[in-house]
Amino acid sequence: MASTGQQTTSLKRRDSLVTREGDQLIITPLGAGNEVGRSCVYMSYKGKTVLFDCGIHPAYSGMAALPYFDEIDPSTIDVLLVTHFHLDHAASLPYFLEKTTFKGRVFMTHATKAIYKLLLSDYVKVSKVSVEDMLFDEQDILRSMDKIEVIDFHQTLEVNGIRFWCYTAGHVLGAAMFMVDIAGVRVLYTGDYSREEDRHLRAAELPQFSPDICIIESTYGVQLHQPRLIREKRFTDVIHSTVAQGGRVLIPAFALGRAQELLLILDEYWSNHPELHNIPIYYASPLAKRCMAVYQTYINAMNERIRNQFANSNPFDFKHISPLKSIDNFGDVGPSVVMASPGGLQSGLSRQLFDKWCSDKRNACVIPGYVVEGTLAKTIINEPKEVTLMNGLTAPLNMQVHYISFSAHADYAQTSTFLKELMPPNILLVHGEANEMGRLKQKLISLFADRNTKIITPKNCQSVEMYFNSEKMAKTIGKLAEKTPEVGENVSGLLVKKGFSYQILAPDDLHVFSQLSTANVTQRITIPYSGAFGVIKHRLKQIYESVGSSTDEESGVPTLRVHDRVTVKQESENHISLHWTADPISDMVSDSIVALVLNASREMPKVVVESEPVVDEAEEEKKAGKIIHALLVSIFGDVKFGENGKLVISVDGKVAQLDKQSGEVDSANEGLRERVKTAFRRIQDAVRPIPLSAS
């Protein structure tokens, strides 16, 4: 059961079912499989393809930062869903939209879209890579904006048979969890989520429906967060005590998302502590200033608390926090609190300040969120004695380093309760370092030991295949459904498929229940013919079993009706007309009539008067008997007439008796009996074809 390590991909016994290719669901992480960064998960089911997120890896640059897009054919993707604006979830989008063959549709929430543009423009400006390494430029971002469509929380959309909607995810403003429904199979992709309500965001919702597969983040693995209030208290205490001792506080934070939460905390703390009012708080990010308009607008994506405050005054109008453009404008006299990006201390303002302050033990650095492996911020969490500065020199690390996480990812408690309530039969872990993910997997396996839950941790580009036995249900409606049929009865009608729903209906009802309509094509064709009408009637009777004659009520001309399908009318001395409703058989009949009429006019001179052929049943029967006999002889060789009209067939000493009337065969030999029976049925079909009237 608990398959560890290497994946056994087949989740269902393949041979046990007549699985059609369309029932196979494939999920492939193109990024964020056993790693954090470049989230991108590919999913395909029943020929429909969805891509979740499109991020870059913050620790790499250029092409190396992209998810493994070459594993898939971008042109086949129907829908691309982006959960939130963080770089590791959205930053390869301009590249994917502009530089690949992708031609599907892209969706994200309103707030995500607004911030996405600002964030990526900033990213393009600050990323210091050579021009060849640039994945995209400002123009690509602007062009991508036109292609991105917006979706509101809970709004259900349908594209190409794929239905999807999104839930609040917590984490950052506009963050969403996507639920995708393809032909009744539901997949939930959480993106980054948090089940804890904070100062401005709602907690992630619990979806109303349990998904069949849950693709869930595992950033924090089995760790547990301290309660929010304790974290906030630690945070404010550290800052308060540092500045009280005359130190400086550096908070390296990613410009958007969690930073706003920290600012709300600081602003409120400062308001409640007048003694701190002379100590400045700086927020060094021009980007954040620009994003404030977005935060001030999409109030409805936030929680009740903010919405109530909003009616009063905008909570994002900070009273104690001033923006800081660059380090040149920064006086650095006396204690202060500076929040600066980037969060990983790789470069930029936060690094400049760090280099300046790190050797003074009065100062403090508060790392407020998850830090990616390989960055300086990650290094200093372990409090080394020395650090390497940007200019290559080493300096002692004397400042205090605090790690207080506000990163709004779910911890183990949240993840496990979320999954317990959701009860998905399949769980896919992504967005977590291999070790954390492994621990989480072990813990979840023991948690769900009594249930038949599969927990899978695919690596990048490792496909997970699952099989869903999808039952196709159809709704029979309209005239066809006036009576519910019993077992064994026949049902025939039009099967109409739209998206993944089926309807069966009578042809007359087609226009009632769909936008399709049916048509009748009536054909009229005139043929030159100057002979006697009687001749044609006579000829037709020779060929067709049912020829009715009458006179047209309006014009009084004689008409013939062949098999109630085609009407032949003598229009004038020189013309006759054919008149019928198009359908393959009628067309065929009419063609033969046309041929007959043309023949008749050619053979006009020799009018042959023949007596009505007397259809002699006995004669017919005899003829048929002869033919059957001849045919049987050609198959079996030795065929004799036996008593009371039976045929005696002997093959290799085995004897069978065939009753021509009933088709019954008597034989001691099973094989021969079957063979004779089949042969006779075929002969019957040939000799007495299905009478036309039956159709």
Partner: protein
């Protein structure tokens, strides 16, 4: 069997009264809209009062009085207690509209039909949905899914789609298919062949000029008056169409660098614009786009001044100006007062942007020719003085004592039930205290109100032994390092403080502008003084249709496109209803209903349906043909049963009987002509028929425009002499269809 659907209008059929309809789906009663007119005439609510208690859910479609005005009254007095569903803007703007109405009415009369806290409590249990959110109703209405869709007309305006067992009932009134500055057009046209469509006939006789032309005329009229030193009054609604008008004026002012002042005067104007700013998700694509690109919120107004008090307007120097003031009916509110002041000056202009409600001053003024003089009642609230005041105070004191006695009793009850004063409860109490005791002295009153709140908030639960702070016996544990401290003790207390602090802090003013808050709390004893006076109407009066509803022609074409199986017509004058009914019977569908008030009509579809499973064996043999969104095939199958007792379709055991072939497809003569031309056949239209080549003619017989009716099967006749051409053209014709 189909789902049973009954429709009972409660108000607003064969006239332009407010809208209110009861739709019952398999016994689940949905009250769709709950409107009231600007007179707040209780007599029109009689039908509602008879059924209010049986309603299981309420759906609201637009944030104006005609669609939701009666909600507070019905909740308070008629026993309506069902959950309410609406979009976020309908909730917010509807709330503001009701505040504005209440405050306007309170100024001129002893208005007692509902109070501000009735409004609040009615709106409190609204469940807010987003567009195209499929909300599954649980409990009694299990299986019913409701979904709001864009209607245009007003911000947040909703076309409701109610689905049960795959059958759609669509309620679409006051929709607008045209895209406007701040709203997208309705998505009604994307629904096809719903089982039932309920729509209004309000505009079926009206036709509108193009938007560009209408906007130009509007601005010309306004500018003419302003340039002639006149003042323009636009009587508007509180939070609906006003948004569009403001945008028109803002844009024009910005383009032409005009400096004439524009004022937007309602009791809630600043809140309205604040909320409008945060509803960008609900507005048109162009507004969203401009925000994404430039981060300029369209409702960051540069030329319009927001006022919540008429005295502020009076302080503005005299001169040309535009005032947008509520109510649109001129029956109450600021617009009424301003009209009376300005009507006598011929330079001024009163520009109506919507048709006035029946029997209102606005409607009277819109008549042709307009009346020379109108009689109006000027009412004013004046503070009590002298003897009246003393008498009032005595009365109040007596009542207060009684109430206090009652209150203590009630409070005991309450505190038993709700130990923790959670946000909504606390909130209701705040206002309660503020308004119901219209007590003698404002200062005393305030103190009272807040003391009540404090007591409410911190009243000890009765379950505790005695009203005292929690006290624990200190049986402290010690170890080698001293006393063991549990840090959680401290933290949790912190949290309690935090939570208890929040609701009291920012709520009372959270809801109102300072002005309205002061007004609400202004409890100086007062009375209403009324005087009749006759106003000479010398100013010019213009009516322009800025209602943002689809016009008659568009309604008809939309109906023909949607082609419901059954159509129910409501809301519209008798002629309009009759006209649309006649039209629809001919061109939309044969089942058109226009019920009278309280007449229940049964629009249960006579549709039969059953579900079957399609077995894998059958499906592997079916070849679908693709036609647009659809895939289609002919099936012959035998009915079987699955293990779970479902009917399933299996392949036939014996050969299928032949069936009449079906040609599926829709042929447009014009398209076919193009097609033939592209194949090198000479084609032309002659006398309604298509002449192909020299001899062959192609005709469509039967009324092609009628959809949904009996003649939906197209009849095409192809005629011609026996020739090669005939067969060639027949071949092309066949290629347009799928033969099954």
């Amino acid at each position: 069997m189909g789902t049973s659907v009954q429709v009972t209008p409660l108000c607003g059929v064969y006239n332009e009264d407010p809208l209110s309809y009861l739709v019952s789906i398999d016994g689940f009663n949905l009250l769709i809209d709950c409107g009231w007119n600007d007179h707040f005439d209780t007599s029109i609510l009689h039908p509602l009062s008879r059924v209010a208690a049986t309603v299981d859910a309420v759906l609201l479609s637009h944030p104006d009085t005609l669609h939701l005005g009666a909600l507070p009254y019905a909740m308070k007095h008629l026993g309506l207690s069902a959950p309410v569903y609406a979009t976020e803007p309908v909730f917010r703007l509807g709330l503001l509209t009701m505040y504005d109405h209440y405050l306007s009415r309170k100024q001129i009369s002893e208005f007692d039909l509902f109070t501000l806290d009735d409004i609040d409590s009615a709106f409190q249990n609204i469940t807010r949905l987003t567009y195209s959110q499929n909300y599954h109703i649980t409990g009694k209405g299990e299986g019913i899914v409701i979904a709001p869709h864009v209607a245009g007309h007003l911000l947040g305006g909703t076309v409701w789609k109610i689905t049960k067992d795959g059958e759609d009932v669509i309620y679409a009134v006051d929709f607008n298919h045209r895209k406007e500055r701040h709203l997208n057009g309705t998505v009604l046209e994307s629904f096809v062949r719903p089982a039932v469509l309920i729509t209004d006939a309000y505009n079926s006789l009206n036709n509108q000029p193009s938007r560009r032309q209408r906007d130009q005329e509007f601005l010309d009229a306004v500018m003419k008056t302003l340039r002639a030193d006149g003042k323009v009054l636009l009587p508007v609604d509180t939070a609906g169409r006003i948004l569009e008008l403001i945008l028109i004026l803002e844009q024009y002012w910005a383009q032409h660098h005009l400096t004439y002042p524009i004022f937007f005067l309602t009791y809630v104007s600043s809140s309205t614009i604040d909320y409008a700013k945060s509803f960008l998700e609900w507005m048109s694509d162009s507004i969203a786009k401009s925000f994404e690109h430039t981060r300029d919120n369209a409702f960051l107004l540069k030329h319009v001044t927001l006022l919540i008090n008429k005295s502020e307007l009076d302080n503005v120097p005299d001169g040309p100006k535009i005032v947008l003031a509520s109510m649109a009916s001129l029956e109450a509110g600021f617009s009424h007062d301003i009209f009376v002041e300005w009507a006598a000056d011929a330079k001024n202009l009163v520009l109506f942007t919507e048709r006035g409600q029946f029997a209102t001053l606005a409607r009277m003024l819109q008549s042709d020719p307009p009346p020379k003089a109108v009689k109006v009642t000027m009412s004013k609230r004046v503070p009590l003085v002298g003897e009246e005041l003393i008498a009032y105070e005595e009365e109040q004191n007596r009542m207060k004592k009684e109430e206090a006695l009652k209150a203590t009793l009630i409070k005991e009850e309450e505190s038993k039930a709700t130990i923790k004063a959670d946000l909504p409860v606390g909130d209701a109490m705040v206002i309660d205290a503020g308004t119901t005791h219209t007590s003698s002295d404002a200062a005393v009153m305030h103190g009272d109100a807040y003391r009540d709140i404090l007591i409410d908030g911190f009243v000890p639960p009765l379950s505790s032994a005695a009203p005292m702070f929690p006290f624990y016996d200190k049986s402290s544990e010690w170890d080698d390092f001293g006393e063991i401290i549990n840090p959680d003790d401290y933290v949790i207390k912190d949290e309690d403080m935090d939570q208890a602090f929040m609701p009291v802090g920012g709520d009372i003013d959270a809801k109102f502008d300072e002005g309205s808050a002061s007004l609400m709390l202004d409890t100086t004893p007062s009375k209403v003084v009324s005087s009749e006076l006759t106003v000479q109407v010398k100013c010019s009066l213009i009516y322009m249709d800025f209602e943002g509803r689809s016009d008659g022609r568009s309604i008809k074409s939309i109906l023909a496109h949607v082609a419901p199986l059954k159509l129910v017509l409501v809301h519209g004058s008798a002629e309009a209803t009759e006209h649309l009914k006649q039209h629809s019977v001919k061109h939309v569908c044969p089942h058109v209903f226009a019920p009278q008030i309280e007449e229940t009509i049964d629009v249960t579809s006579d549709l039969c349906a059953y579900k079957v499973q399609l077995s894998e064996k059958l499906m592997s043999n079916v070849l679908f043909k693709k036609l647009g969104d659809y895939e289609i095939a002919w099936v012959d199958a035998e009915v079987g049963k699955t293990e779970s007792d479902m009917l399933s379709l299996l392949p036939l055991s014996n050969p299928a009987p032949a069936h009449k072939s079906v040609l599926v497809g829709d042929i447009k003569m014009a398209d076919f002509k193009q097609f033939l031309a592209s194949k090198g056949v000479q084609v032309e239209f002659a006398g309604g028929a298509l002449r192909c080549g020299e001899y062959v003619t192609l005709r469509k017989v039967g009324d092609a425009s009628q959809k949904g009716g009996a003649a939906a099967i197209q009849q095409i006749v192809i005629e011609g002499p026996l020739s090669e051409e005939y067969y060639k053209i027949r071949e092309y014709l066949y290629s347009q269809f799928y033969s099954l």
